[in-house]
């Protein structure tokens, strides 16, 4: 049957003629649709409460408010309403006007039944496609975001909690953390979970743009604003309209730019360099820094008013060495990522190699870990990454000498070299500048065992 278990298609017929309302509603009810009728604009608008209506059939000519005006009102209430205009032959011009204003189609009375049923079916098909599209986009945005953050440690859980609770608001967020801890990633997650997610997030690395160009970068410039400015350019604040602007390394900007930044953040208005037109932009600010801003404020190199304007809600990212329990999961994540990208069958890591990774202090944080894994994936032979695939500094850092005696240092150094060569005795002996027999003796002396 046409009436199935899914949501019943609903139709609103608005026409001042009784026979039209009566015959159309009877005709569509036989298709299993829910049909209501209204004799004029006022009752049609009242019926909008009983919506949403999948399709609204509107008579273009009615006493009082006509179909064109009513179409506008209906679109204000429900922008997704699909409107089909019903016209007499005399009013084709206004039907064209209706189409320009967003009506799905129009029909002239009397309408061929075949044409009408196809029209309604097409409208419904288009409607379900756009509904599906919205649903898929929502699913996509869920798929893209939380998955990127890896880490189960209490420190990281707290960060994710903070980020998701501030995401829904329009609050300015400051993300603190060492280089490579994932400040931009957190900014993107906040944006992706905010109501602004369908608008862009514009990232500006304030530290990477030369001081002279930062102003034009942020605010744009008019043609001829300075030598070389041959075309008008939109600035990052203008591009971020509706979305989020992410100011990375905000602690590096000059005193002059700090003033300008403060003004635009407070007023949301600015002018392009060399221009006079005031431009309004609706943006949210997320900034990040790895500097000690409080110290900079004390020293006078960072404006206190800007500091307070930016430092509304802080998310602090812990350095990787303070959340070592996340290293195995992160490692696995990057292995999977690069295995896919390089089409390699390496799917794991030897416990001894993982042990090295967990012990390393990671001054470059997650970014460094990712680079180390990427490099190791190039070298590794399936199925797993071995200690010899890891770079020198990681392997070397591992066996901290147990004391400062020559013996302790020698022992640690031999372990490091053996690990680096994956216990290849000949190569290790070569590196150490001793013969193989001596190396065997030392291994026996220090009781070393192949991991």
């Amino acid at each position: 049957m046409a009436s199935n278990n899914q949501h019943r298609t609903s139709l609103l017929v608005v026409d001042d003629e009784f026979v039209v309302r009566d015959s159309l509603s009877k005709w569509f009810r036989q298709d299993g649709y829910r049909v209501e009728t209204a004799e004029d604009a006022a009752s049609a608008l009242r019926l909008m409460d009983k919506g949403p209506w999948d399709i609204v059939l509107l008579d273009i000519k009615m006493p009082g408010m006509g179909g064109l005006e009513l179409q506008k009102r209906i679109k204000e209430i429900d922008p997704s309403a699909t409107i089909i205009m019903i016209t007499a032959f005399a009013s084709v011009e206004s039907a064209v006007q209706a189409l320009k204003e967003g009506a799905f189609d129009y029909v002239t009375k009397p309408v061929d039944p075949d044409h009408l049923s196809h029209l309604v079916q097409n409208a419904l098909r288009q409607k379900s496609l756009s509904k599906e599209n919205i649903k898929l986009r929502e699913q996509m945005s869920h798929l893209l975001t939380p998955d990127e953050i890896v880490g189960d440690s209490p420190e990281m859980k707290r960060v994710i909690e903070l980020a998701s609770s501030v995401a829904q608001t329009d609050t300015t967020v400051m993300i603190r953390g060492e280089s490579g801890t994932g400040k931009e990633l957190i900014a993107r997650i906040i944006h992706a979970n905010s109501p602004r997610k369908f608008f862009p997030i514009i990232a500006v690395n304030c530290g990477a743009v030369p001081e002279g160009l930062l102003e034009s970068e942020l605010f744009g410039h008019e043609k001829g604003a300075f030598t070389g400015a041959q075309y008008r350019r939109k600035g990052k604040f203008e591009l971020a309209d509706g979305g989020t602007i992410f100011l990375d390394e905000v602690g590096t900007i000059s005193a002059r730019m700090q003033v300008q930044l403060l003004r635009v953040i407070e007023s949301k208005h600015f002018t392009r360099v060399g221009g006079s037109e005031s431009i309004k932009s609706d943006f949210r600010v997320i900034c990040a820094t790895n500097r000690d801003l409080e110290q900079a404020v004390k020293e006078g190199s960072f404006r206190e008013d800007l500091y307070y304007r930016l430092n509304v809600f802080t998310v602090s990212l812990p350095p990787l060495r303070e959340r070592r329990s996340d290293i195995p999961a992160l490692t696995q994540h990057f292995i999977r990522k690069y295995a896919q990208a390089m089409n390699k069958t390496v799917s794991g890591i030897d416990p001894s190699a993982l042990d090295l990774l967990v012990r390393y202090p990671w001054p470059g944080n997650v970014r460094e870990l990712e680079n180390v894994i990427e490099r190791a994936m190039v070298l590794a032979t399936p199925p797993a990454i071995k200690p010899c695939d890891l770079p020198f500094q990681v392997v070397q850092a591992q066996p901290a000498a147990n004391g400062d005696s020559l013996e302790a240092v020698e022992r640690a150094h031999i372990i490091a070299i053996l690990n680096r060569t994956n216990w290849n005795i000949t190569r290790s002996a070569g590196i150490l500048g001793i013969d193989r027999v001596t190396l065997y003796n030392k291994i026996a002396k220090y009781g070393l065992k192949r991991p």
Partner: protein, 183 residues
């Protein structure tokens, strides 16, 4: 279950009604009364500007004339039918109601400039009659193209479907009939 009353609206060939009656008895397992004396005059429903007859108006005349009738009423005619917003209709029915009407006019090959085919016309009329009666029993349009309750806006679509209900529609019809008997 009270019998279905077939009412001719002239002009109509008497044998058309007789053939249709046999087909309906077969499908619905309900007695059919054909009573030529109860025919009605379509003149009041005539619209000169369209040269067509208002089917809704004919339905209301039919209901007024046969208000004493208990069962379903189906009027059959050769005149061309319309409802005001549409250019034409093959027939019309009261959903979950009492009366229905079908026209043979656009079911006839001659309407489309083709040679007469009486067996095809009988087939089409039976399908449309069953379809409209189905509506009076509360059935809606069916998605299955072979089911008699599939909506057809062209004769080609009528020819595509069968004169029987699909299992789902048959089940619903049975259910509605039993409810009708109990109530």
């Amino acid at each position: 279950m009270p019998p279905i009353l077939l009412v001719p609206i002239p002009p109509l060939q008497p044998e058309t009604l007789a053939t249709l009656a046999r087909g309906i008895v077969e499908r619905f397992q309900i007695a059919v009364l054909t009573d030529g004396s109860k025919s009605i005059d379509p003149a009041p429903a005539y619209d000169a500007s369209r040269n067509q007859y208002d089917s809704s108006l004919l339905l209301s005349i039919l209901l007024r004339l046969h208000s004493a009738q208990n069962g379903k009423i189906l009027a059959v005619t050769e005149v061309d039918l319309y409802i005001p917003v549409l250019t034409f209709v093959f027939g019309e029915a009261q959903l979950d109601g009492k009366a229905a009407i079908v026209s043979v006019r656009r079911l006839d090959e001659r309407f489309y400039g083709l040679p007469e085919k009486s067996s095809l016309l009988e087939d089409r009329l039976l399908k449309e009659a069953i379809h409209e009666l189905g509506h009076t029993f509360g059935l809606l349009h069916c998605r299955r193209f072979e089911c008699v309750m599939h909506a057809s806006t062209a004769v080609e679509e009528i020819d595509l479907k069968s004169s029987s209900f699909c299992p789902e529609c048959a089940r619903l019809l049975d259910q509605k009939n039993r409810m009708g008997e109990n109530g």
